[in-house]
Symmetry: C3
Subunit: 139 residues, 3 copies
């Protein structure tokens, strides 16, 4: 079994969902792995990962909106306020979604459903560079 490591960096420009399906696939397609596991970790706690519908952009808008209402940017609600009004809500949204996703590769294909896309969910207001660790194990 081979193991291959890779990093994908996404420059975010404020809150929202950023697709990285193409970045992952274009790297994956160059690797000589027929069957295996792809473990993706985000190395941050104020942004997170979700697998979501890749068709209607309104889904992404509604997701962002839902999480904003659920964990409002209101310093009165939190003790941890020194890093800005968006930081504690970001940690909460991160706990509610995923820090990591484990996917399967079968016959050189990443096993995602037709309507599934990989998204980085940025929860901070400012620009950030987010590191997505990719670890492929297979043969």
């Amino acid at each position: 079994m081979k193991q291959i490591f890779h990093e994908i960096r996404i420059n975010t420009k404020g809150q929202g969902l950023y697709s990285f399906t193409n970045e992952t696939l274009s790297w994956l397609n160059k690797q000589k792995i027929n069957n295996g596991i792809l473990n993706i970790n985000i190395l941050h706690t104020s942004a997170s990962l979700v697998i979501q519908e890749n068709a209607d952009p309104n889904v992404l808008y509604d997701l962002k909106n839902f999480f904003d209402k659920l964990a409002p940017m209101d310093n009165k609600l939190y003790k941890h306020t020194t890093e800005g009004k968006d930081d504690m809500p970001a940690h909460i949204k991160s706990a509610l979604t995923n820090n990591q996703i484990t996917l399967s590769i079968k016959g050189k294909k990443l096993m995602l459903g037709t309507w599934q896309g990989l998204y980085l969910f940025e929860h901070r207001l400012e620009r950030h560079t987010r590191i997505l660790s990719h670890h492929l194990i297979g043969n």
Copy 2:
């Protein structure tokens, strides 16, 4: 190391939690893997996966009820309404729970706690056939 792929299909009849622990175990018990990893992915974004208590059915009722209140089926709350009042709440509930679960197998046994069961969480109102990809890697 061997890799084995399998699909379990669950026919759902509206919202709710559907146990598939038995389906997974009856397949797993036929495989000649002593130790390894089982990666389960649901290939949809309007249904999801949870590990939950397998004892009192009221737990499943309360879970469904909690998520319905948290993400109500009310078109006024969402932009994405073309696929029905239950679709956007389904995407939200999917983001709040899991698209995939990675389990360990030790000495031919799936490592689940005594009270843990595997559930497909259907969030749509109509009938659906849901595909659960199973990927076993071990020896």
Copy 3:
């Protein structure tokens, strides 16, 4: 590829987030694995796992507080009440966070971000001993 199993037990004293990063690392550092995957499962459904900020303890306070408001300990809200007012909220909080986490090891190092720590999230009020299954696969 080698596979190594290990159990970490955490004695909890009521609700809250308990770091186990040190316990995991001190075991991991004794294993002769350069590259691989670490699959951590909690074998319970009323406590869960999160990766969160390891710097400001107020983040942990705010997280606990947020989840308590989201799933209140109020028997009137639930059917499943026989195990105490904290049990059904515990199952809900468990569904909203994680039962398992899959991490990567590269060059003998566990791939976590600078500010990321591993936490057991205890949702019950009484003392419990929680079992965290660790499964390492690599070479």
